[in-house]
């Protein structure tokens, strides 16, 4: 009886149709460490989220990677993708999203893209995780680390970052936002001077008009001169002089994208998986700056 059962199982297995694993095309703007980190997190998480399809499946999905900094011609990238016909495209970075945005029907998940709306426009096969760090998360961390901070000084450009100010004010009505508009980069130092004595913290916005290599020096000079800490949105500003960075967690972003990908691969339409803000942030303190600015915080590692 037992032998008969085993025999039947073997016949069933032999007769089973070979099941294909999911083909995921990873398109990267560049071969940068953050991208590799987020892909790793995406991959790990996806393996847990996707069930094995078919009896012969060993791996639930398969990755193919394209680094468009190595093959910058958009048509070539599109051609390769069309030939491969992947089940999903993971676009990492602005240029990657630009390269794949015109490929129809294949769901696209973007990551690490600043202001993706401008690129996506009305395309309905694209979704992803926004890079913007919500002000509420940032100031939640500030309130935790520096509860005495009430006056937030910020330089913004009306055209680019007025929404951020409005959102922040909306999210944290308990804080006072001294937001000064700079029409050009050159105005930033002067605007900063206007904040002298009026702010407990300077808030950096991801706006190229107000935050760029030419203005950063002004921020940090102001910070050290006036003993006002700078809150940055990326870890990269810590070594230049920012006291605290509340920034995205690449691992969390990868996992978040993996969740979206799993749903899409399992058949959910893209319209049901809308773009998401990051769900988790990472807070890093610059101990040197904190010490010099005499900030009562000691936390250095991400929360």
């Amino acid at each position: 009886m037992k032998k008969t059962l085993i025999l039947i199982m073997l016949i069933v297995l032999a007769a089973a149709r070979p099941a294909l694993s999911y083909e995921i095309m990873v398109v990267k703007s560049a071969d940068e460490p953050p991208m590799a980190q987020v892909v790793r997190a995406f991959s790990d998480k996806l393996a847990h989220l996707l069930p094995a399809r078919g009896v012969k499946s060993i791996e639930p999905y398969r990755f193919r990677e394209i680094d468009i900094s190595q093959s910058p011609i958009k048509s070539a990238v599109e051609q390769e993708i069309r030939e491969t016909r992947p089940d999903l495209i993971l676009a990492l970075g602005r240029n990657a999203l630009l390269a794949v945005r015109d490929i129809p029907r294949i769901p696209v998940i973007y990551l690490l893209v600043v202001a993706p709306d401008i690129i996506i426009e009305d395309r309905d096969n694209i979704t992803g995780v926004n890079l913007d760090i919500p002000a509420r998360l940032q100031f939640a961390e500030i309130s935790r680390l520096l509860p005495s901070v009430r006056r937030i000084g910020v330089i913004y450009n009306t055209a680019h970052s007025a929404m951020d100010i409005q959102q922040a004010k909306k999210d944290r009505p308990d804080l006072e936002f001294i937001a000064l508009n700079a029409q050009s980069t050159k105005e930033v130092p002067a605007r900063l001077e206007e904040l002298r004595g009026r702010a407990d913290l300077i808030w950096l916005l991801p706006d190229l008009i107000v935050t760029n290599p030419q203005t950063l020096e002004s921020y940090f000079l102001f910070s050290f001169t006036n003993k006002v800490p700078v809150l940055a949105f990326s870890e990269k500003y810590l070594k230049s002089g920012a006291a605290v960075a509340v920034t995205f967690d690449l691992e969390a972003m990868g996992e978040q994208a993996a969740g979206m990908a799993a749903r899409l691969l399992l058949g959910a339409p893209v319209s049901t998986v809308p773009p998401m803000d990051i769900s988790r942030v990472k807070t890093i303190v610059n101990p040197t700056a904190a010490r010099k600015l005499q900030l009562p915080i000691t936390e250095e590692t991400p929360r």
Binding site: S29, A30, E32, P34, S69, G93, R94, L112, V114, A115, L131, T185, K186, P189, A190, P206, L208, T211, N212, P213, Q214, T215, E217, S218, L221, F233, S234, K236, T247, F248
Partner: protein
């Protein structure tokens, strides 16, 4: 009195000239070296100042980036004041990238202010600074440095806001220019200090160099001084100006002599080959002549050897003749005893026969008368015959005959001893016996008026060839007898001393000339008349004594006589080969 003229002495002294020249060279070299060193140090110091100035202007450009970016005058004050805090920085100017002056701070009026106020000059300078990356020059009173001011350029990449873009180099943007004017006051003071320090060092080393040069010259020219001194001594030091002239003239003369010598050598060399050829030919001729002469000499030598053999033979014959003459004389003397006695013996024997016949007749006479007559006749005969003395005469004659016989026997005996035919072997012999047996062989005529005095001391037997020694003695005594011309004394003295037998023959003859005394033992040397001597006697004697490891000494004084002393070892150390034994 000689005046002390130091400058004159220096002018004359070669060593002083060398010293002064060397010191002058050292001085010039030191000055040149000093100037070079100062120049090098000045250049190095200048380069260092320029480097420092460029560093300052670069620092200024870096520190005013934000101020230039904002063009806020207040932002310039702090960084510019920091640079102007340097005591030598007298002016700092900041321009934007359009050439508009953003800030100026100066401690004193200087040329840069006037220069940059001219837009054309300024534009040229800024273009140059932008192209070259920096610019500097110097005026009489200051260094002027320019450096461009760059700011990090804002990129249009949003991702750069969030991430470190490793592959992209940070872009930069020219936003202005910084200019610094640095006073040369400190620089000039530094140069002056270099000048003083270098000068002091050079003076110290120069002093040491001069002192050492002087010492070295003194030491090195010591041999030269010695030569000069010698030359002056030889020339008397007169007529020559200074040492150099003296040396020059001396060595000039030597050179001339050398040239002459070389010319002579050359001439000799030129003629040498001809001379060598001539001489070679001459030598060849001479060699041929010599070979010819040598051949003749060889032939002559052979002839001489033959003649020598003949002479030796003649000498032998002469000696033998002399000996034979002596022997003949002796034998003749001895025979004279016999032959002189024989007629008398014959006569006496006739007398006796007559007497005996008378007695026989008497016996036969029976008659008394006749007997008486006969007896009377016998008596008369006896008387006639001196009968009484007849036997005495007879005995005397017999004695004479016996004497002659005895003498002849002795001569023969001596002759046997002399010839020693069976004794030519080294064997102990009595020298006295040899002398005694030799004397008789001296020509008796020569010894007529000669007294032979023997003063024999005690002598042990001498191992010798007795016949040969006898020949030597005979030669010496024969010569002595000849030298005394039949009148004089030949003293033969013997004694023994230190294992040697000494035999000294002293004659009172005419003596031998001192200038020929050393030649008397030479073969064929003789002073005798031709035919009387061969000149080999003493030569042979000399060889015989040498054969016995002995020696012959001779001393002579003209008119007083000659002394021959034969010294023979009692036992010759090595018996010579008995060539004739």
């Amino acid at each position: 009195m000689k005046r002390w003229r130091p400058f004159h002495r220096i002018r004359e002294s070669f060593i002083a000239k060398i010293s002064i020249t060397l010191i002058a060279v050292v001085l010039v070299l030191a000055l040149l070296f000093d100037l070079l060193l100062i120049r090098l140090q000045e250049k190095a110091y200048e380069r260092e100042n320029i480097k420092q100035g460029l560093a300052l202007v670069r620092l200024l450009a870096q520190s005013v980036r934000l101020a230039v970016f904002t063009e806020n005058e207040q932002d310039f004050i702090m960084p510019v004041n920091a640079i102007l805090g340097h005591e030598d920085v007298v002016e700092a100017d900041i321009f934007n990238n359009d050439g508009a002056m953003l800030f100026r701070r100066e401690k004193q009026e200087n040329s840069l202010s006037r220069l940059v106020d001219n837009p054309q000059y300024l534009a040229a300078i800024l273009t140059n600074v932008q192209t070259a990356g920096e610019m500097h020059w110097q005026t009489e009173n200051s260094f002027i440095f320019w450096w461009p001011i760059y700011s990090n350029a804002a990129t249009g990449n949003d991702e750069a806001l969030f991430f470190e873009m490793e592959d992209e180099p940070p872009a930069r943007e020219l936003i202005g220019y910084a200019a610094l004017v640095i006073s040369k006051q400190s620089f000039s003071a530094g140069v002056r200090q270099i000048l003083v320090n270098t000068g002091a060092i050079v003076v110290i080393f120069l002093s040491l160099g001069i002192a050492m040069s002087f010492v070295v010259v003194r030491r090195m020219t010591r041999p030269l001084s010695a030569i000069l001194k010698k030359v002056k001594e030889n020339t008397g030091g007169a007529g020559v100006g200074d040492d150099l002239s003296l040396l020059s003239e001396t060595y000039g003369g030597m050179l001339q002599e050398l040239e002459r010598s070389f010319e002579t050598i050359k001439e000799l060399k030129d003629g040498l080959e001809v001379k060598v050829a001539d001489r070679t030919k001459e030598l060849s001729d001479r060699q041929l002549q010599l070979e010819s002469a040598n051949l003749k000499l060889s032939q002559t030598l052979v002839k001489l050897q033959e003649a020598q053999q003949q002479l030796i033979q003649s000498e032998k014959m002469a000696a033998m003749g002399q000996m034979v003459a002596g022997v003949a004389h002796e034998i003749n003397n001895s025979v004279n005893f016999i032959s002189g006695a024989l007629p008398s013996v014959k006569r006496l024997l006739g007398d006796l026969k007559e007497l005996l016949a008378s007695y026989e007749e008497l016996e036969q006479v029976r008659d008394a008368d006749d007997r008486d007559r006969n007896i009377t006749a016998i008596r008369s005969l006896k008387n006639d015959l001196d009968f009484a003395g007849l036997f005495a005469t007879f005995e005397q004659l017999l004695a004479n005959i016996e004497e002659g016989t005895t003498r002849t026997t002795r001569i023969i005996k001596d002759l046997k001893i002399f010839t020693r035919q069976g004794a030519e072997k080294f064997q102990p012999a009595d020298i006295h016996s040899i002398i005694d047996s030799t004397i008789p062989f001296i020509d008796g005529k020569l010894l007529k008026g000669v007294e032979i005095r023997k003063e024999f001391d005690k002598l042990e037997p001498v191992t010798c060839l007795a016949g040969r020694i006898s020949q030597v003695f005979l030669n010496i005594m024969q010569n002595a007898a000849q030298a005394m011309s039949g009148k004089g004394t030949l003293t033969i003295r013997t004694w023994q001393e230190d294992g040697q037998a000494h035999v000294r023959f002293t004659d009172t003859g005419c003596g031998i000339e001192q200038d020929i005394i050393h030649r008397i033992f030479d073969p064929f040397f003789t002073t005798k008349e031709v035919g009387r001597g061969s000149g080999l006697g003493l030569g042979i004697s000399y060889d015989i004594i040498k054969q016995h490891s002995g020696r012959i000494n001779v001393e002579s004084k003209i008119g007083q006589g000659t002394v021959f002393e034969v010294i023979l070892p009692l036992s010759p150390p090595i018996f010579p080969a008995e060539r004739e034994g």
